[in-house]
Symmetry: C2
Subunit: 381 residues, 2 copies
């Protein structure tokens, strides 16, 4: 475990697609999705413990979740929670974490009374950026890949991402096309240059991607060293880099919060994929297979969950099914669902809302949330 | 309002067909089905207030519901709750109420220092027996019919029942065939002799019954005077009459409960319909139409409830429907149901159980209750 390994966990999302299971007050990353006793965020933090010192784990989130995070991860200090005063997509989120890490490295150097050379290797850090609400089934393989990635970014000034070997023509993910030498077959756990990032494809295109063997799912997990990502922001998103630069010296001090409060809301809303990854030249990808899912939808959760003989999934609660198949049912623990004559539906209850919806119509859920908010004056938000 | 009018309300049922809305601890009659702020039992008691002095209202039930009843009807005295130590169908239940009323009349005579002639008119009482969990929409018409019934049974030693003018070929009710003179048309609110009682018919037979104009639904509401029902028990159910006879003098005293505890469980399990009404000679019926339903099933409740434009019924909770029709949905007050892609289903939640079931399969609910009781060791009873 290297002292200059850092981990940035993005935990600001609201996750309305899992409504009513996830709510504004408790989005997906704070929920114990699989009844393991740990929230997705807790599992995510634990996943990095073997590779990143706990004091180098940073969580970027909205201020309203700060207390919840400190409650769920009691060994984090308050200054490890970076609070965004507004939602501005992943580029400003990551820029904040980069500035914060730069500030920490600088503070360490000061403490060590070393002479400060801002561009020296001693000022560097190796950073992994990951979402807080994804599922990874093979933790050992994940650690193996990430360790390899840390080694690579320490030695190479490139932007690295982890690409998931696709197992189905999924239309819910972005894809990464890999550049291989002629006749070369793409192998897991090697490092390849990225040819292109693509948006979510339609089904026909997704099938072509899958069959070609050249495409990987974009996991949203990025690795880079501090020097390289700072340079990338300066090169591709100078309007963001310029805002954070003057704040680097106050990071980790009492002035950090005021600086961010003042400046952050004026950042443009732009994703790291669009703002940097798709434009940068030295982007690399490690193809990997560690049972990854972004848990983006009820359907994804259904696919990943254990099923009974009639392909019904039950999460948390007790259940009894009659003449029913292909359903995903989740009520709070300690409740019983008795279900007859239901097929391919989502049945999800949390607090004061029960949702019953066809799995195939889960894209409408966001609409339901909006409608309910208007119709019932926010009572069930 | 006559001082010797009595009302016996049968409130011992468990009502598992409305599970999980009704539970062992709170059967149907104790629930506020329509969100009016009153339970079915409260509405039933209130219904009789204009015709029966409140001190003459008796509720026969299981001892476990005594406190709940006193809580729901605070102007009842504890000795107006007749507690059955075991469930023995309607004949023993009614026999108990008859003995109790006889005891009360006797006690009154004693207080009045009158000489006691057990067979005198002064020892008589007019009694209506009614279930605690039925719906009556037209209360005024109901009162009118019952008042007429009280007049009739005071003057005539017959067993009278109220027969509901059928409005559809219902297979869930028993029927009463009325004896009319040749060429005579059956009129509401007249008194007719009964030709036969019939069991629940199949659909074809129910259609014949409806078209014939000779058949009425058996409402389970009976009227008779004390003398006549005592004689009927002696004539048709002497094994029950003999058990209660020695208890009449202790009714209303401290010894009543011990007597009933000791004797009641040995009563045979027999209904008043089978044991007396179907066998007695002088049985009469008043055809009536006062918007009656036994609320026996979710389907019956659905039929009676207000529907939205897509024929969805919502009871108690908030709801939002999408691409859904013909459902009946009830969650506790203060909850929201968001329902998409569902047709002709029951969605009912109460405490820790959620039931989702096709309306057409509601006959299976009893089975679900039994299965769940076994599978989850009574946790959700």
């Amino acid at each position: 475990m290297k002292e200059n390994n850092y981990c940035v966990i993005m935990a600001g999302g609201v996750g309305s697609r899992f409504w009513p299971f996830s709510r504004n007050s408790r989005p997906k990353q704070f929920l114990d999705f699989f009844g393991t006793g740990k929230s997705l965020l807790q599992v995510t933090v634990d996943r990095f413990r073997p590779l990143v010192p706990i004091e180098n784990v940073l969580i970027v989130t909205n201020v309203i979740y700060r207390d919840l995070i400190l409650e769920q991860i009691p060994d984090l200090k308050p200054d490890q929670i970076l609070c965004e005063p507004a939602r501005r997509n992943t580029a400003p989120c990551i820029a904040y974490s980069v500035a914060h890490i730069k500030g920490r490295v600088l503070a360490k150097m000061k403490t060590a009374n070393a002479s400060i050379d801002w561009e020296s290797d001693a000022m560097n850090a190796n950073i992994i950026v990951a979402p807080s609400d994804h599922l990874i089934l093979d933790e050992q393989e994940f650690l193996h890949v990430v360790e390899q990635g840390f080694d690579f970014i320490e030695k190479n000034d490139v932007l690295l991402t982890l690409g998931m070997k696709p197992t189905r023509p999924e239309t819910g993910y972005g894809y990464i096309q890999v550049k291989t030498a002629q006749g070369e077959t793409m192998e897991n756990n090697n490092v390849y240059p990225v040819k292109t990032f693509t948006e979510k494809p339609n089904l026909d295109l997704a099938k072509v991607f899958l069959e070609s063997g050249e495409f990987l799912w974009n996991s949203g997990i990025f690795m880079w060293n501090l020097r390289t990502i700072r340079r990338a922001f300066r090169d591709y998103l100078p309007e963001i880099a310029d805002k954070f630069l003057p704040g680097e010296p106050v990071m980790g001090t009492a002035d950090e919060e005021a600086f961010i409060q003042e400046m952050f809301p004026s950042c443009p809303n732009v994703s790291i994929d669009y703002g940097i990854m798709e434009k940068a030249k030295d982007v690399r990808v490690i193809p990997a297979s560690f049972g990854w899912s972004d848990l983006g939808t009820w359907g994804a959760l259904y696919e990943l969950s254990e099923k009974d003989a009639n392909q019904n999934v039950t999460i948390h609660c007790d259940s009894a099914f009659y003449e029913s198949k292909g359903n995903i049912v989740t009520l709070p623990k300690g409740k019983l669902a008795v279900i007859q004559g239901l097929e391919n539906m989502i049945v999800a209850e949390n607090d004061d809302v029960l949702l019953i919806c066809q799995k195939a119509s889960e894209q409408q859920i966001r609409q339901f949330v909006n409608d309910a908010s208007v119709q019932f004056n926010g009572k069930y938000n």
